[in-house]
């Protein structure tokens, strides 16, 4: 027994000395991995309560991604049952476990601003005023969720793009949408069409018509084919009218709607036997 105790003590001493040697090395590596976004902090107390013991253990045991896949399945199930509280809670857990997964932020927000908001709006058991209030609340929750995603992924273009879409479609706040699209386009891997969306939104933002006109005109003057799409031309023509731009300075293009009508007319004439398509 004494021999065992002696050995045990010596083994612990050996491991302690080893621990003292590795501690600074480990601390440095830990810092490097955390700075590179490769190590996440352990789940906080509130998250641990929400996840349950087994999921917490799995998350701590290096199986965060598996727990997050399970939570995604759980959220999908809750979505089919229109259990919005569960969907919201599950996506909160998923994004806390994997804060750099941009798609999860976007999908969680989408469930809130699109699905939950539409669902409460269609809920006829609620009074109309309450339905509208709840719809707005879910849209706002979706926006907050996206903003959290942006804070966690400052270099990602997609959450900004999604935010622009929500401001445009759900809040009709075109000024905020323009700013969101501008931010999205400034980031790496942004879709090329976003450069035009900034102009479209500015054109609908009260008091920014001149800015919108200058912006879209600059795009138009670049001359590339994708800068002179029908929507750019329509927006410019509307702004020219609104700002009363002198005729000489206006773009020479024919309005796309007139072009479309002319093309339709030509097609009609070409049909053999004088057949007309209504």
């Amino acid at each position: 027994m004494a021999l065992f105790a002696k050995k045990f003590f010596l083994v612990v001493m050996l491991l302690l000395i080893g621990g003292l040697i590795r501690a600074p090395w480990e601390k440095k590596l830990n810092g490097e991995l955390s700075a590179a976004g490769l190590l996440s902090n352990p789940p906080g107390e509130s998250l641990r309560e929400q996840m349950g013991q087994s999921a917490t253990l799995a998350a701590l045991g290096g199986l965060r991604s598996l727990v997050s896949i399970y939570m995604t399945l759980h959220a999908h199930d809750a979505w089919q049952m229109t259990d919005w509280e569960t969907v919201e809670r599950d996506y909160h857990i998923i994004t806390t476990l994997q804060p750099r997964d941009v798609d999860s932020w976007i999908k969680g927000a989408w469930h809130l601003w699109a699905n939950a908001s539409a669902n409460v709006q269609l809920n006829e058991s609620l009074p109309p005023a309450l339905r509208e209030k709840m719809r707005q609340e879910y849209v706002d929750k979706g926006i907050v969720f996206l903003q959290q995603g942006i804070r966690n992924n400052p270099q990602a273009a997609k959450p900004w793009e999604e935010l622009g879409f929500v401001y445009r479609e759900k809040k009709h706040d075109y000024c905020a949408a323009a700013e969101a699209y501008r931010q999205a386009y400034a980031r790496p891997h942004a879709s090329a069409y976003l450069v035009r969306f900034v102009g479209y939104m500015l054109a609908q933002c009260p008091g920014h018509e001149r800015e919108a006109y200058d912006y879209l005109r600059a795009l138009y003057d670049e001359g590339a084919i994708h800068r002179r799409l029908p929507s750019v031309i329509v927006s410019l023509k509307q702004l020219e009218e609104k700002l009363d731009i002198p005729l000489i300075q206006r773009i020479p293009d024919v309005h796309p709607d007139i072009l479309r009508q002319e093309r339709a007319k030509k097609r009609e004439q070409k049909l053999p036997g004088g057949i007309r398509i209504q």
């Binding site: 491991l15 590596l29 590179a36 490769l38 290096g62 995604t72 994997q98 997964d101 942004a190 879709s191």
Partner: protein
């Protein structure tokens, strides 16, 4: 005459060579033989049957689509595969190492080996390397399988996305290139190999801990339970450090015990980078070298500690 005979005796004495050479202190060849026999022994336990389950899991993950974006589809395959690899490797590291010494005792192989001039350190190193070889081969096979599936899935997703985008005039050539690059970033790459390496390093350290426990354990079950507890505690390192060391919570005895635990038990959380890698985070070669160095230090420490306990153990 007498001097002649004495010279003959001297010549004969010179010609006589020792019948048994003293064995080298450490022989890589002997370790190799022990490792190979351990490998065979573990393979005969039908270890690789797990691969069939793994293949089914990866195929199921590649067909799972809960309104996923193209990137998410690939990410699910990466996450499921790396997660399954991680579970397999740490479970195997604990259980396989725990049964090795008791099995050798039961089969009497241990007596046959140790009665030969095989140092006990070589026996332990050979056994440990055998376990690591099985884990390494299994991980390599799983990695190969999931890389092939990921590659095919990536190719088909890119083709389908490009076809879809080509039909929509809103998307320019630049958009298509960006989208293809974003999807390709979640295809097979070097980072995934680094993720698999991190999984391997973690299970190697765990196997070394199990080896130490099994040198003084009375049964395999005891080894499995104690190693699993150490494994769990090893994941609470950061929380424990924050609680006992940084925040200075608890009495001084609690803090001292906490500090000793932090120094003695390995930090397994440091190897948990495969989660982030499967989500698309990038890791550098220098970081992996540093991590491998740390794992080697752990292996060295725990092997020496195991040898220390095992060196004069009587059977």
């Amino acid at each position: 005459m007498a001097s002649d005979s004495s010279e003959q005796v001297r010549d004969q004495t010179k010609r006589v060579e020792p019948l048994v050479k003293s064995p080298p202190i450490f022989s890589a060849q002997r370790v190799w033989v022990l490792m190979a026999s351990t490998f065979t022994q573990l393979v005969r336990m039908k270890t690789f049957y797990f691969l069939a389950i793994f293949a089914l899991l990866v195929i199921a993950a590649s067909n799972l689509n809960l309104l996923y974006t193209p990137v998410q589809q690939l990410k699910v395959i990466r996450e499921t595969s790396l997660g399954a690899m991680s579970i397999f490797s740490w479970l195997f590291a604990i259980t396989a190492t725990a049964v090795l010494i008791p099995r050798d005792l039961e089969d009497r192989t241990l007596y046959t080996i140790l009665c030969k001039p095989v140092p006990r350190l070589e026996y332990l190193v050979g056994k440990l390397l055998g376990v690591l070889a099985v884990i390494g081969v299994a991980l390599a096979l799983m990695c190969g399988l999931f890389t092939v599936i990921l590659h095919f899935q990536e190719t088909s997703i890119i083709a389908s996305e490009m076809h879809h985008m080509a039909q929509n005039p809103r998307f320019t050539e630049e958009d298509r290139i960006t989208e293809a690059a974003m999807i390709a970033a979640y295809g097979p790459d070097l980072n995934l190999l680094y993720g698999v390496l991190a999984v391997f390093l973690k299970s190697a350290v765990l196997a070394a801990v199990a080896m130490l426990v099994s040198t003084f354990a009375s049964s395999s079950l005891f080894t499995i339970i104690i190693t699993f507890v150490v494994f769990l505690i090893g994941h609470f390192h950061k929380m424990a450090t924050d609680f006992w060391v940084v925040e200075q919570q608890g009495g001084w005895i609690t803090r001292m015990i906490g500090k000793v635990m932090i120094l003695v038990i390995p930090d397994f959380q440091i190897f948990n980078i495969s989660d982030s890698i499967s989500s698309g985070q990038v890791v550098g070669l220098a970081t992996m070298v540093e991590m491998s160095g740390l794992a080697a230090l752990y292996l060295g420490l725990f092997t020496i500690a195991s040898w220390f306990v095992f060196s004069d153990k009587e059977f």
